[in-house]
């Protein structure tokens, strides 16, 4: 098999996940896109490991070991991430990352409870984008 096939598929999946991370508004959908990016990296690791274990006769299987580590770390990351999202949802009543602007620099009045005043900037951003 040409190495270009898994490499190109991995690049496509990574950029799909990149689009999802940048464009999604729900925090859980952003976590799903992060999973897509991690899986793209895993595919690259496995493909290059299979190639190197034949061509260079590399017996460490570092690519597959790193893939297993990445899968484990992704499982830990999704657990922690969902716990954080649920804590934010319990405190704020929303999981939209566009509304969590408490630490953002703003020109007008800022406060912890400005759900009503965050809607106009979002609409403005949509109109300009």
């Amino acid at each position: 098999m040409h190495l270009a096939y898994p490499a190109v598929l991995s690049a496509l999946l990574f950029c799909t996940g990149l689009y999802g991370v940048l464009a999604r508004r729900n925090a859980i959908l952003v976590l799903m896109s992060v999973e897509l990016m991690l899986n793209a990296v895993n595919l690259n690791l496995v493909a290059f490991d299979v190639w190197l274990s034949r061509t260079a006769e590399e017996t460490l299987h570092s690519g597959q070991a790193l893939t297993l580590f990445t899968i484990t770390i992704a499982a830990a990351e999704i657990g922690i991430g969902l716990a954080i999202v649920l804590a934010v949802y319990r405190n704020r009543g929303t999981s939209d990352i566009d509304r969590l602007r408490d630490t953002a620099e703003s020109h007008d009045a800022d406060g912890p409870d400005r759900d009503a005043s965050t809607a106009p900037p979002a609409e403005k951003a949509e109109a300009t984008a």
Binding site: H2, T16, G17, G20, A129
Partner: protein, 206 residues
Amino acid sequence: MTLAAAAATAHATTTSAAEAHGFLSPTGVEIAFLLVGLVTFGAALVTVTTRQLVHAALWLVVTLGGLAIEYLLLTAEFIAWVQVLIYVGSVVVLLLFGLMLTKAPIGRSPDADSGNRWAALTVAVAAAATLIWVVVDAFRTTWIDLDGPAAGSTKATGESLFQNWVLPFEGLSVLLLAALVGAIVLSRQAKATATEPGAPSEREPR
């Protein structure tokens, strides 16, 4: 001198092996990889573009399952089954639980995409074009020899994992324990602060 000669011969064999297998006459494994890859990529696209949140999680199952088939085609059996077990079995279930617990809307939600969608699309397409150009230019003539014993069988993976990677493996188990404790602590703190303001009235029904 001998190193250079060996590198030259190795380069010659790889290029000849790759040139013997052109892109216009794909093997059966390549055709299967291409078809499954198309399904995987399409499911990934639907995952990041659909407006129904639960459907996104279900299309993510298709993507991850397709990737498991790609691992099988690359003769990495153990990774494929770990992918099915952990990703399809637990991560997607966790994501679905998260969607349920944050009261995600079942139908179409109009605000699933944020306002910077076109900027994100531009960045993603530019990154995809750059990455594919670089990758194809670099590995156009590289050939993976998939014949012979599987490179990622359970035996090979286990031997490498428990001979060369024991210390990172044990460290990873500590990390998993830390993540588990961290998730529990995060959930408990959230519950304590949520019940603190109206503690007496909320505790009475229990």
